[in-house]
């Protein structure tokens, strides 16, 4: 029965060498980019036969932590400059590859068909608004922007006991869609995903501009392919996908 172990050894060697030559990159992108990046990755794979793009979506801060702890990502796309800055200062990214590729708008949403009367930031302090959902400011850019909005109106201390912190902007959307909170801070692009469950009440103001930077991870083993993907995201086809999903130019 010596043939079986020999055959298995050959199979293992073959698959190892296949894995080494197979072109695959891992893209860690902010949760709000889920639909857009799935589309972009598909188009990238279609235009480059033999290439696979693995996507990993979570809050930008969480993704940064993963990369800082050695997660094998090749490209990082963040929903704010602050997270990217932190990554650059920790020398996690190749600074020469950092580019802004999209912009977004922060909006306040409420469960569909709910009572009206939420027209501006100050209305969030009304007693009828029992719970407000936003991302955890430490790890979710949308939460940080929301905090800026509330602090700009000097409302933070007042509404803080009513805040519910979510792990990502998509979880905020879920809380609002379920009707568990009266209001939530999400991006316009997220709100557009559930028009039947959430209503956009107003556009938030008073926060820094929402721009999305991307960069290639310094320890990437597929730096060339990663740069290729980054260039693709900045190209016309991917920008059209982003525009269709509601993103603006940076």
């Amino acid at each position: 029965m010596k043939t079986i172990p020999r055959f298995l050894a050959m199979l293992t060697l073959a698959s190892v060498s296949l894995a080494a030559t197979a072109q695959q990159i891992t893209v860690s992108a902010a949760a709000s980019l889920t639909q857009a990046f799935r589309d972009i990755a598909m188009r990238f794979e279609a235009s480059r036969p033999g290439v696979t793009v693995r996507l990993n979506f979570a809050a930008s801060g969480v993704l940064l932590q993963q990369i800082a702890n050695g997660a094998p990502a090749d490209v990082f796309a963040s929903a704010d400059q602050d997270t990217m800055d932190r990554g650059v200062s920790q020398q996690l990214f190749d600074p020469a590859t950092r580019r802004d590729f999209a912009a977004n708008t922060l909006v306040v949403v409420a469960p569909a068909g709910g009572p009206q009367g939420l027209a501006r930031t100050a209305d969030l302090a009304a007693p009828a608004v029992r719970r407000i959902a936003l991302g955890k400011p430490a790890t979710v850019p949308a939460g940080r922007y929301a905090r800026q909005v509330l602090e700009r109106e000097s409302l933070w201390a007042q509404v803080e006991p009513r805040l519910v912190y979510a792990d990502s902007v998509r979880q905020v959307l879920d809380y609002v869609a379920r009707g568990e909170v009266e209001a939530g801070f999400v991006y316009r692009t997220d709100a557009l995903l559930m028009p039947d469950k959430v209503d956009i009440r107003f556009t938030a103001t008073g926060h820094e501009p929402v721009t999305y930077p991307l960069a290639v991870v310094a320890t990437s083993r597929q730096a060339a392919l990663a740069k290729d993907f980054a260039a693709f995201v900045l190209g016309a086809e991917a920008q059209a996908v982003l525009a269709r999903n509601g993103f603006a130019r940076p």
């Binding site: 801060g61 800082a68 955890k136 805040l163 519910v164 979510a166 792990d167 379920r178 009707g179 568990e180």
Partner: protein, 224 residues
Amino acid sequence: MPPLLADFDAAPLALTLRVATVATGAALLLGVALGWVFARTRLPGRSVLEALCMLPLVLPPTVIGYALLVLMGRRGPVGAWLREHFDYSVIFHWHGAAIASALVALPLVLKAASTAFSQVDRDLEAAARTLQQSEWGVFLRVTLPLAWPGILAGTLLAFARAMGEFGASLMVAGSIPGQTQTASMAIYDAVQAGRDDVALLLALAVSALSVAILVASNRLLSRR
């Protein structure tokens, strides 16, 4: 005093103890009652009911959390009723975390109580009855005292389990600092935010407490 200890937020630990105590209390009452029923009676459908009660022990916490959300959420049958009649919701409230923790603690108390009751010598109970004791008297003065060490050991385990509840309580109660953020959630948040120092301190505190509880539980079990 080192800066970490000086501004260490003990609220998660206090909240964990509060949630675990309430959850274990509820699990104890229900577990002892059900344990006695399963050990002493021959109810029809008993095995199905027993399996249902043990289910939280093996179900993924996300399944339990999702089930609670569907039931107790604003649009759920129980949640909508509570909100309409009492303007009360367990979602994003520490009561929700307590319910989730009680659900996972119940099987541990139930198993221990059921085993302990079935090991009580029925002759002793019969003797008590001949001495004119009512059924309640038999239970309180003979059965329960004899079964108590086993029940307590199970309750301590249940308390440790309730302290460690994470997935289901996070889905139902959220992680609101000062209101629903238990120690497990605080560790999770600290790790996500890169605060390894806070995470380590909390993890050590919770581990030390859990070890103490397990040691006490083992002592009780070996004493029988």
